[in-house]
């Protein structure tokens, strides 16, 4: 057998091996998609793009729904509540990916308030400094560690 024919056969074998690995990976991926529920924790009722909806959240929503309804909740009611929680999660994820945290003033304020409130708790718990000084220091630290690039035509403060 000539060298050229041998290298051709080796290339074909490699191609076959590659294709087999591809098929195997594809099959594994498809199977893992089907058995996603396995990965949900015991205290989750659903997951939306890998974000879990917690059992406690579902039960709280059921409680609110039940308080508006005089009769006992039916299977349909429970399903409706779960679907509404999934819808809510979808809207939240869409809002985050659409950048509403920056462009919508109400969302922006809520996010800033929340992060500042968290910081204040940390500051109060950890340092003896005044909140204002601690916040100033924290912002200075954030600025120092961030990659901040000023436009050429702008004199940075």
């Amino acid at each position: 057998m000539s060298n050229s024919a041998r290298s051709h056969r080796a290339a074909l074998k490699l191609l076959l091996a590659g294709a087999s690995v591809g098929v195997l990976l594809g099959a594994l991926s498809a199977l893992s998609d089907q058995s996603n529920e396995v990965y949900l924790s015991a205290n989750a009722v659903a997951s939306v793009n890998h974000q879990e909806i917690r059992l406690a959240e579902y039960q709280r929503a059921l409680g609110l729904f039940a308080s508006d309804k005089r009769e006992l909740l039916t299977e349909d009611d429970r399903s409706l509540v779960l679907q509404r929680l999934i819808d809510e999660e979808l809207l939240i994820q869409h809002g985050i990916t659409s950048g509403l945290i920056r462009t919508d003033m109400v969302v922006r304020s809520a996010a800033l308030e929340s992060v500042l409130a968290g910081l204040m708790i940390e500051i109060e718990a950890s340092s003896g400094d005044s909140a204002e000084k601690a916040l100033t220091d924290y912002l200075a630290h954030l600025r120092a560690t961030a990659n901040i690039e000023w436009a050429a035509n702008w004199v940075a403060p």
Binding site: H50, L91, G95, D104, A110, V115, R143, I148
Partner: protein, 282 residues
């Protein structure tokens, strides 16, 4: 010096090279990597970890904080606002890093409201032309019904004899006030005031007619029908505002449903059936 490759081999290598480049390009595009640079956006004043702050944002913040556009401010004032925007951006990035946007109930609520507002904004601002409105009204006439309304008087007595005497009097019901308001009432309100049995009896009366005494556990009743306004479909001229509101409400619901359907199609949703089955709802 190596000899030049034969032409078919050269073509094969070129083809492989092009395929490799195409593969890289596809991988780069599908990664969703967004490289922001000043050349892309000439309005960018400063970029913080690739997140730009633009002239438009400066103007907006300037209007919000000082009531004037940024170009009327001194350089110091502009810098104060820019510094504020930079600090806000750093805190927002911190919020993103901590996952606050998805976890804080206040932020979640405001996000849901903002997304819904955005999804239905077009429906709410679009003018409705007269033809559209009329077609909608014609297709949904049953929604614009003025229900049956009844003007009734109801009197309660302690005994049957007392009620019979009142009924026989030349000018009855002089000694007491009606239990019902004088304005016309829809059926559901009447039932709330009188209960089912008396309301059903009232419906058998014609205008001007008085009922026979009716014995109920809490007394003896006489009902006098003053007027009956039959259920009627309101003409468009009278129901214009209701029709417009219903038209927009349905448009809003449709826009939101469409958006949710699209989001569901793109999402990976898993319901933990086993966890749900284990819940005790008793």
């Amino acid at each position: 010096m190596s000899a030049a490759l034969p032409t078919p081999r050269r073509y094969t290598n070129t083809f492989r090279g092009l395929m490799a480049l195409a593969g890289l390009a596809i991988a780069l595009l599908s990664s969703g990597l967004n490289i922001t640079s000043f050349s892309e956006n000439h309005d960018t004043l400063v970029s913080i970890n690739q997140q730009p702050i633009t002239l438009q944002q400066l103007n907006f913040a300037s209007q919000r904080l000082t009531g004037a556009p940024a170009d009327t401010l001194t350089p110091e004032q502009k810098n104060t606002i820019i510094t504020l925007l930079v600090d806000e951006e750093l805190l927002l990035q911190r919020a993103e890093l901590l996952g606050i946007s998805g976890a804080d109930s206040g932020v979640r609520k405001s996000l849901v409201r903002a997304v819904i507002k955005q999804a239905v904004a077009n429906v709410l601002i679009q003018p409705i032309d007269a033809e559209q409105l009329e077609a909608f009204y014609r297709a949904h006439k049953a929604l614009f019904v003025q229900p049956l309304r009844i003007t009734l008087q109801a009197y309660r007595y302690t005994s049957l004899k007392e009620a019979q005497l009142a009924l026989a009097a030349a000018v009855p019901f002089q000694d007491r006030a009606s239990l019902l308001p004088v304005s016309p009432m829809p059926l559901h309100m009447l039932r709330r005031y009188l209960g089912g049995t008396l309301t059903d009896s009232a419906l058998a009366l014609t205008a001007g007619q008085t009922s026979a005494p009716m014995i109920r556990p809490d007394g003896v009743y006489l009902l006098r029908m003053l007027a009956v306004q039959a259920e009627k479909i309101l003409p468009l001229s009278e129901a214009q505002l209701q029709v417009e509101a219903e038209y927009r409400r349905r448009g809003r619901d449709t826009a939101l449903d469409t958006m949710l359907r699209e989001l569901r199609q793109q999402a990976q949703i898993t319901v933990a059936s086993n966890n749900l089955l284990s819940l005790d709802f008793e």
